[in-house]
Every structure is written in C-alpha cells, then in structure tokens.
C-alpha cells in the first residue's frame, strides 16, 4: 500500500484550506448571462474571466465533490432530454479528473443542489456545462496533485494521476483521491487556466461510452417523470377547451365532483382540474366534463390556415419591427443572373410522444415540483409567483420526460400541477396532459416567411445577397407566471409578457439568417413580429430551420442558373477552414462527384450550415427518389459530416445528428399544424402525421470530424437546417422543380412535378 497521507499533518491541510477559502469571496453580479441562449431568467455572471458556466458559479464544490472513498459527485444545472448529456458530462468529468467514468455520479438540475445554468437549450450544454465541468475538474485535479506534493515534500510536477483515482509520486509514493480530498477544501473559486490533460492521452473523452440512461429505458426501469409514484399520490387532469384561446361551457362540475373516486374539482378563476384517487377515474371525469360546448375566448385564428399563402398573409399583416442585421450593399454588383424567391414554413408541433407530465406536493408551507421542463429554475420562479410563495419555499427538481425538442407543454403542466397541489395540501399530485391537450395547448414552432434575392456575376461568383425574414419571437420561455397557461386563468391573471427577439449572433427568428459564406453586398433584415396570433415558442433550431433552408436552397438555385456544380459554388464562397473541411468531407463520403445523374426521379442535394455561426459545423448530402405518381419522396441515403470540436462521445453526436436528420425530414416533408378560425385541428397523430418507418431513409451515415482538444461546439440542433435544404435540393435536382414551401408533402410534390 501507499505511504499516503499519514505523513502529512492534518493541520497543514486545514491551514491551506483556510487560506484558499479566503479566495472564494467572489465579486458580485455583472451582466445577465442568458443561460441556454434563449429566454429564461439565466444566472448572473460573477466571474467573467472563467470559462463556460463557471462564470456564474465559480466555486469548485458547486460542481465537484469527492468523498473519503474517492467517489466523485458532479453537479450540473443542465438536464437529460434524451440527448445523452448525462453520459457526455460524466465523460468530461472523468477525463479531466482522470478517474474511471464509473466512479462519477452526476446530479442534474435541482434548485436545492445544483448550479443554475439557465435553460438546457440551444445546443448550449456542452459549451456551458461541459466547459465548466472540464475546467472545474482540471482545477480539482491540480489541487489534489498540489496537496499530495505538499504532503510528500516533492515538487508539484512530480505528482501524476494514474487514471484509477490515485496520485503517484516519486519513490513509489501513492495516495487515493479520497485520502487527499478528505483534507482538501474544494470550496474555492476556480482559476481560469488550470492545466488540462493532453488530448493525445485521453482515456474517456472521444470514446463511445454506452449511455448511462439507456438500460433502464429498455427494460421498464424507472426512467421518466411519468414513472414516479409517491406515497398517497393523487391523479389529476386539467380541464381546458380544445386549444389555446378556447374554453368549455357549461362545465358539469357538480356532477363530476360527485363521481365515485373523484377527490375534488379544483377551481381557481377559470383554472379547473379534476383530482381523483385513480388515473382512469380522472380521465373518465375529464371526458364527461369535456362533453360541452366550445367557446372562443380570444380573437379568431388567422383566416388563411396553414397553407403558404395563409402563413404569408398572417405574418405580413402584423406590425413589424425591422431589425437590420447586415447593412449591404457595399459595392456595385454586376449581375448575370438574379434569383428572387420566397420560402415559407407553417406552424409545427413539437410532437413529443409522451404528453407533458409533472408532480407537485404542497406541505407545511413548502412546495416541491418535479418537472421535465428545460428550465428547472424557471419552473421554481413561475410556481412561486403563481401560487404566491417565496422562491426559497419552492423546490424544483428535474426528472426526465419524453423528448421535448423545445418548449412543449412541460412548463405549463408544471405550473398546473403546482396550482393543484396548493389546493390539495399534503397529497402528491401527478398530472399528465392528454394527447389532444399537448397538441392543442403547447406553444408551436412559429410559422415563418423569408424572401431572398441573390445575384451571380459573370465570373460565376455571388455578387449580391439579400435575406429578409418575418417571424414571431421563438423566445417565449416563461420566467414568471404570465408565461404559462395557468397564469392567465387564475382570478387576477398575470399579463402575458411581450415577446422579445434574441439578439444576434444567437438570434431567434433571425438565427442563421446571415450566411457563413463570404458574400459581397450582403443585406439581412429581421422583420420581428411581436404579436402572436398563434401561441408559439422555441422549437429545436428556432429560425435556423427556415433560414438555412432558404439560404441553401438559394445556393442551388443560383448554381442551376449559372450552370455551376452546387459543391463548387459553396466551396468558392467558404473561407472558413473548418467549414470547407466539413463540406469537402461530406462530398467525399457521399461520392458527390460520382453521384447518379438526375433522371426525373432520382436526384442529389447538399446543404451546409454552422449552427448560429458559432456552434457545430454540419453538412448533409442526400439522394432521393421522387415517385412522381404519388408525390412521395424516398430518401435513399443521407450522409452527414459534423465538426463539434472535441466530441466527448462521438456516438452521442452521431445519435443526435441522425435523429436531427430524420426529424427534419419529417418536419420538412410532412408537417403543418392545421387550424380553423376557432381552434387547432391537428389534435392527434392522424390529424398531425409524422414520419413513420416506411418513409425514413434507407440509410443515414454520420461522420464526426476528429478535433482533439478543441472547444466544445453545440451539436444537437445543427442538422435541422441542412437536412431540410438537402432534401429540397435533391428533389429539385431530381425533378427540375424547386419547392419553396414547407411541407414538401406528397400532394404538393405531385402537383408541382406531375407525371412524366
């Protein structure tokens, strides 16, 4: 065994510990950090010189604790949404601490235990939390080595970690992390440049660690909030009209309250919920009470419905605040070909497979809320305001739900559960929305319009580029009770906050509206429309889905006009080295130069974007076959390359990008929330169809670029835009017909291309 720490006096540790604690007096609040890059209240920046979320939580033991047995607990303010973040963060911590990943336990967002890192959104988790944990772990490893060196009386650089949770020094000295940590205070502020491990010697990062959350999900383990069963728990269902802006009348409250097994019917203003001993009783009571007339309680929904003309009319009728993002022209343009085009996207549902669910318990003046929201700390803020408690008296805990892809009903259902719990103290309340409530009441991904005009010069280079985008805010994350449905239903309703744009470079409707390409005479305008005729908020990739679709479609439209290969036109305008690499790599892996020539049915397309121009680089190439008789698009193969900096878990990245491609094909080729003046009419999977197995690609191959030691770049949303544009470009290549309005569904494709 080791000579370890017995040789060190406990006193020297305490002295050293006391010294560093003095350090931890942190400077107070600077600017507001918008955690997750979207709304959310976001934590204050207190240490602007530190990387990632250490900026707002600089003390090491808020991130990492090591017990006397050497077990490591890592705390993150981010949450698992099925994107595999738990596993990736465990890999990050294990690597920089130099311990086996099995030694690490990860605690995700919990207002009583973890740092507030704002939202888990916007592909920010690796950048914010991954970077914080990486640097916190490097700090901790440095402190462990320093402490051991002091005790052994050797130079700090003579102490090394061995990968198994031990430190080794000259002459066979050895000590476990637990022994050293027992006398080391981690309640100290991180320093910005603690030495990091050499990427060439990584043991855990960059490897495909099996995801820690998967086994339970395969075998019925308790994996989801829906699986929580607390002692004495009651089941609730909330009563609302068929969709936002409607209510039911009259409500048979007395009749339902008298049903056996119904505990109570909560009424608080126009908020109504049924609480029952058994779930099926609550469902039956809900079905009974829903047997009523629908009354529209808000202005009618836009008259034109979800078709392209309807989207354009609805949006262009709204007052606009025009935000100039790029102010061209900057030189005379000599145009040989000019293309003008309008592209549209309808309103989309998040379409979570599991409707939103939350649990809440109000007891002894304190409220606990279990939530699958992306903003655990926001759930606390909202619930506190809604039920009239101090924030300290509300404890919000994240528990995983069904995939959300943005702001689905998660925040609303948590507020609903909190309000019900307040009325039924002492009993845990489990509330799950019904399928039609999720479709009818969640905020949708906004409908959008772009208009582009671009010119190709006689030198076959782009001479001018104009991009205008019309969009509602995508950024309506609730930070107070006015942002959730229940906040508008209680007796003194909380006003709905006015929508605000997210400033560039992240942007919301404007996200990715500035092409990464080198383009002269570049003019970009965001027509920001704060009034929302349809309830909307964040859907995975926000405006990047339509903006990238538009930009990358236009590239192919220009290429066609100028008789240039789409690959060459892209490379000719891409100065960013990593962007070029990703495009070149996808071309090579797809065998772009040897691709099948279009024959009226088969065709190929490619597209590229760097997410937000500051996240991951992603290029997608697709080969499609268009059944002209039916209008059905079959994706034969999709190939993608992605550069996300150092990949913590390459297979995790592949899983996200594969999923992003399939989901984007579904959005782009299938989906539109339908509605009439009175209500949304896409209330189930037959009225809101999504891609099923027979229509997914024959193959999807994702290649992750090797970028050892490079900063993490958010990946989870990077494929949405490129996949959409690659699909449209492949259809245009195959048929010669350019489709600019989503969805490219069979009816539209058949009508546009006709039968040869």
């Amino acid at each position: 065994m080791s000579r370890s720490l017995d040789t060190l006096s406990r006193r020297s540790f305490l002295t050293a510990g006391a010294l560093v604690v003095g350090f931890s007096m942190v400077p107070r609040a600077f600017a507001q950090l918008v955690g997750g890059g979207e709304g959310g209240a976001g934590p204050k920046v207190v240490a602007p010189n530190l990387p990632g979320s250490l900026k707002s939580a600089p003390i090491l033991d808020s991130w990492i604790r090591i017990d006397a047995n050497g077990a490591v607990t890592v705390f993150t303010g981010k949450v698992e949404l099925g994107q595999g973040i738990k596993t990736a963060l465990i890999q990050v911590a294990a690597e920089e601490l130099d311990v086996p990943p099995a030694r690490v336990t990860l605690v995700t967002a919990d207002t009583a235990r973890t740092p507030d890192e704002g939202l888990t959104a916007g592909s920010h988790s690796m950048q914010d939390s991954g970077t914080a944990i990486l640097n916190a772990a490097a700090n901790v490893r440095m402190l462990l080595a320093r402490k051991a060196a002091e005790g052994w009386g050797v130079a700090e650089d003579a102490v090394a970690t061995t990968g198994d949770g031990r430190l080794a020094g000259p002459g066979g000295r050895s000590a476990s992390y637990g022994e050293i940590a027992a006398a080391l205070s981690l309640h100290v502020e991180a320093m910005p440049d603690a030495p990091r491990r050499d990427p060439a010697r990584y043991r855990t990062m960059g490897r495909d660690l099996p995801r820690v959350d998967i086994p339970a999900k395969l075998a019925g383990g308790a994996a989801y909030i829906q699986d929580m069963r607390l002692p004495g728990m009651l089941h609730a269902r909330v009563v609302r009209g068929p969709s936002v802006g409607s209510r039911l009348e009259p409500l048979a409250i007395a009749e339902v309250a008298a049903m056996p097994g119904v505990v109570t019917v909560v009424q608080d203003g126009s908020f109504v919920a049924i609480v029952a001993e058994r779930e099926w009783t609550a469902v039956k009571a809900l079905r009974r009470i829903q047997n009523a007339k629908t009354v529209r309680s808000a202005p009618p929904l836009p008259a034109g419905g979800p078709n392209p003309q309807g989207v354009v009319e609805a949006l262009k009728a709204l007052p606009s605040r025009d935000i100039v993002i790029q102010d061209g022209p900057d030189r005379p343009a000599n145009a040989a070909h000019t293309v003008k085009a309008r592209y549209t996207r309808p309103w989309l549902s998040h379409g979570s497979i599991g409707p939103s669910c939350s649990l809440a318990l109000f007891q002894d003046g304190k409220l606990t809320v279990w939530t699958h929201s992306q903003g655990t700390f926001d759930v606390r803020r909202v619930a506190a305001q809604l039920v009239g408690l101090a924030e300290e008296d509300v404890h919000a805990i994240h528990v995983e739900g069904s995939g959300c892809y943005g702001q689905n009903g998660a925040d609303d259902v948590s507020a609903d559960a909190a309000l019900i719990a307040k009325h039924v103290p002492g009993r845990p309340i489990r509330l799950q929305w019904m399928r039609e409530q999720e479709f009818g009441w969640e905020p949708l991904g906004p409908g959008m319009v772009t208009e582009l005009e671009a010119s190709l010069g006689p030198d076959k280079r782009i001479a001018a580029w104009r991009h205008e985008v019309w969009s509602n805010p995508h950024n309506n994350r609730p930070v107070g009770a006015g942002g959730v449905l229940a906040g508008g239903e209680v007796p003194n309703p909380f006003p709905v906050p006015e929508g605000k744009p997210i400033p560039m470079p992240e942007g919301d409707g404007s996200r990715n509206s500035v092409p990464l390409y080198n383009l002269p005479n570049l003019h970009v305008v965001y027509h920001f429309l704060k009034d929302m005729p349809i309830r909307v908020s964040a859907l995975r990739s926000l405006g990047a889905h339509l903006n990238v679709f538009s930009i990358e479609s236009m590239f192919d439209e220009l290429a066609r006009a100028g008789g240039i290969d789409p690959l060459d036109l892209r490379l000719a305008h891409m100065a960013d080295e990593r962007g070029r690499d990703v495009i070149a790599a996808v071309a090579e892996r797809f065998a772009w130069r040897d691709r099948p020539q279009p024959d009226g049915r088969r065709g190929c397309g490619m597209a590229f974007a760097r997410y937000k121009n500051l996240g991951a680089y992603c290029a997608v190439a697709m080969e499609v076959e268009v059944e002209r008789e039916t209008g059905r698009i079959r994706v034969r193969r999709a190939v993608a390359t992605v550069d996300c900096g150092q990949a913590a878990s390459p297979d995790g990245v592949r899983n996200q990008v594969e999923g992003g491609i399939v989901q984007s094909i579904s959005w782009t080729s299938r989906e539109a929330m339908s509605f009439d003046a009175e209500r949304r009419t896409g209330f189930d999977w037959s009225a809101y169809p999504i891609l099923r197995f027979k229509d997914v690609p024959d193959s999807v191959a994702v290649h992750v670029m090797d970028r050892p030691g490079q900063p993490f770049l958010g990946t989870a949303e990077a494929a949405q835009g490129p996949a959409a544009a690659a699909l449209a470009n492949a259809v245009a290549d195959a048929t010669g017909v350019r489709l600019r309005d989503m969805p490219l569904n069979p009816e539209r494709v058949r009508a546009a291309v006709g039968v040869i």
Partner: protein, 163 residues
C-alpha cells in the same frame, strides 16, 4: 371488481373497474413502467404489450378482456441489470434518444422475432410501421431489430444444421 391477471408469468389480483385500460392497471396498480401513455388512441404504439403472444395497444384494451390470458410487458423480457436478447441488441446499437417510445418498439419487434422464418429489412420496416418515434431514432431501431433477427436466425440455422 376484482380480477386475476397473469402478467409476465405471475398471477396478480387487482381491483379495478372492468373498463379500465390495461395500461393504467399495469402502470398504476402493478408498478410496471414499460408500457407508456402516448396517445390513448391506438396511434403511436408506446403502450404496446403482448396478450397471448400478440401485440396489443394496452391503452385501448379493457383490463377485463385480458383475464385468463397471458400478458407480457417489456419487463418480462429482461431487467435493466439483466437485459434479454432483443434488449441487448438495442443496447448494443444504442438505439434510444429520449427512449419514451422504445419499450413499445421492443414489444412490437419481439413479435416478429417470435414469428421466426426469414425476415427482410422491408419486413422489419413494415412490421414497425405502427410505432412512432419523435426523436428520429428509427435507423438505430431498425439496426437493433436486424441485429436481433440475425442473432436468432444464426441460432435457428445452427439448430437446423444438426441432423
């Protein structure tokens, strides 16, 4: 009403209204998490279980109708610490993102495996058509089912090879 149910080979007595969908009895009375509420309409497959070896939507099946019949849930195929062969194939392919659809996918696919015989990729797609996934995990799910089919096929053909 008191009913006796056979779930994953064990008998359970439950007290429930006879029209209660099997889904709620499995989840709320028996504490089984595998079958999920997705739509309650027979449209998504998240609630898929087997009744006498056939796939059914437990959200649409009244509990009274399964008395005296064999019900199998994903818990009957293995546990998180001891995964069954099909679950292992999903683990090997890392075939889950949020995973909410996956228990239903596994129960659906198991029927195909049980049927045996030669199974093409198109057969797998056709068979899985009833089940929805929103995360876009389809490619991995297809690979996992293929992997399990091949493993079963290998077992079958090695048996067949014997005289």
């Amino acid at each position: 009403m008191t009913m006796t149910l056979t779930i994953n080979g064990a008998e359970h007595r439950v007290e429930a209204e006879p029209d209660t969908p099997l889904l709620y009895v499995l989840r709320d009375d028996l504490g089984l998490n595998g079958a999920k509420y997705g739509c309650g309409l027979g449209q998504c497959g998240a609630c898929t279980v087997h009744v006498d070896g056939r796939p059914v939507f437990s959200c649409l099946t009244p509990v009274a109708a399964v008395q005296g019949r064999r019900v199998t849930t994903v818990e009957g195929l293995g546990s998180p610490g001891n995964l069954g062969p099909l679950q292992q194939a999903f683990e090997q392919e890392q075939a889950a993102q949020c995973g909410y659809c996956i228990a239903g996918m596994i129960m659906r696919a198991q029927v195909l495996l049980d049927r045996g015989g030669s199974i093409s990729d198109a057969d797998i797609r056709n068979h899985m058509q009833t089940n929805l996934c929103r995360c876009g995990t389809h490619m991995r799910i297809l690979r996992a089912v293929r992997r399990a089919v091949d493993a079963t096929g290998a077992r079958t053909s090695s048996l067949e090879a014997k005289p």
